[in-house]
Symmetry: C2
Amino acid sequence: MPPNKSHKHVTCQNCLARKDSLFCSMTGDDLDTIESNKSCSYFKKDQPLFIEGSLPRGVFCINDGKVKIYSRGEEGKEQIIHVATSGEIVGFRAMFSGEPYSVAANTLEESNICFISKSDFLNLVDTNSTLRNGILKELSKELADRASFIKNMAQKSVRERLAASLLLLDDIYSEDYINLSREDLANFVGTATETLIRLLKDFKDEGFVKTHVRKIEVLDKEGLIQLAGS
Amino acid sequence: MPPNKSHKHVTCQNCLARKDSLFCSMTGDDLDTIESNKSCSYFKKDQPLFIEGSLPRGVFCINDGKVKIYSRGEEGKEQIIHVATSGEIVGFRAMFSGEPYSVAANTLEESNICFISKSDFLNLVDTNSTLRNGILKELSKELADRASFIKNMAQKSVRERLAASLLLLDDIYSEDYINLSREDLANFVGTATETLIRLLKDFKDEGFVKTHVRKIEVLDKEGLIQLAGS
DNA sequence: CGAGCGATTGAAAAGACTCAACCACCGTGG
DNA sequence: CCACGGTGGTTGAGTCTTTTCAATCGCTCG
């Protein structure tokens, strides 16, 4: 299979991902400023955008591709916190905290991603109140998401969490099949790879999903919703 | 034992908790504005500040006391996300998201808590950039905290989580002993009450903690740090 | 064609949960 | 003043989910 993506410069003005992003309302001058200061890169699969503990120098804007946000536990096991896709801006929390990254980010597939420097970004936030409000809103929503993530981890069985995760990923991979290694999927659900494989097999047997080699097709959303519980 | 707290009006200008809070840098006019518009209430133990799913009308500023932030799972089991103490402002996340509360908040002990209306608060955030930056920073930090919370839930044993939780709570209860019901503590650690009690007994036997009826005294921080792992 | 990694399976062990019973403390009311 | 009831805390036993470790399989890339 040939790569279906390659390096290309995307202008903010024409960026298709922008309409889904925090920058959706951005216009004229602000857009020009970003456009002329940003850089645009092609990433191969599984390349780091940033690593845990390093100092943030700017934010990453996903034009096309998928990125996992994760943190490593003691024995190096990753916990995936979030899978970001086109239109999402990655790494802006660390812009405000003044601290090193508390998480790491790697591409999950070939991706085109733009970079906006810290100073450009912060300037924009300071002067553009619409953007600012969007960011406050986004931060708040993520906070709520994570609260529910914590609750699910604490109270749900692995089977329930897998169902919920598949639903979530099915949305993120919208028109495609879910395309994650078993290990990444296990690290998202928060379980051992072997356990994940066994449960996935159960789900196949029960007709909820179908696998295409490593890709996963969701067949019965309703069923999964039932399984996932609240 | 008589109640050690009672209703009293605390002025923002004299509020001892303010120096630790997001409002620490607030001065003159802004402080006067809050002072004249806020209301100040005494809460008994285990009273709700707000419940999951209701619409936010403002923020709560803890002058004195402790508040648990939690969310309920399917069978009604609480997962405690955070224990807030004097100086913390509770409920401001929902101010920005435009959505109902995703969590609930109840007092854990008698508390004096002030209330600032949504419009007053948002006005302040809009006009006071220091406060605004403080809030962005705070939201970012909480996001990082929750990422690590998720990782701990997913990868650590209950024993390790208990050690970590006791350390955290020991800080929050600074000069006092940790004072939570066994059930609340279990709901913070994310385990069954019985399991929590058994592990707490182990910790006692191993000399890490000492219990005073329901209160918990941490004896060996270093030991707990070892136990808790990273 | 072989190496190597990701995926899969099996068996055993461990950790945590559930259920049920019991205890201890506290406030109430007789 | 004491018996009572209730709530929160504690213990025990058994079960079940999930993990761990080890081995095998199978595909893909060089």
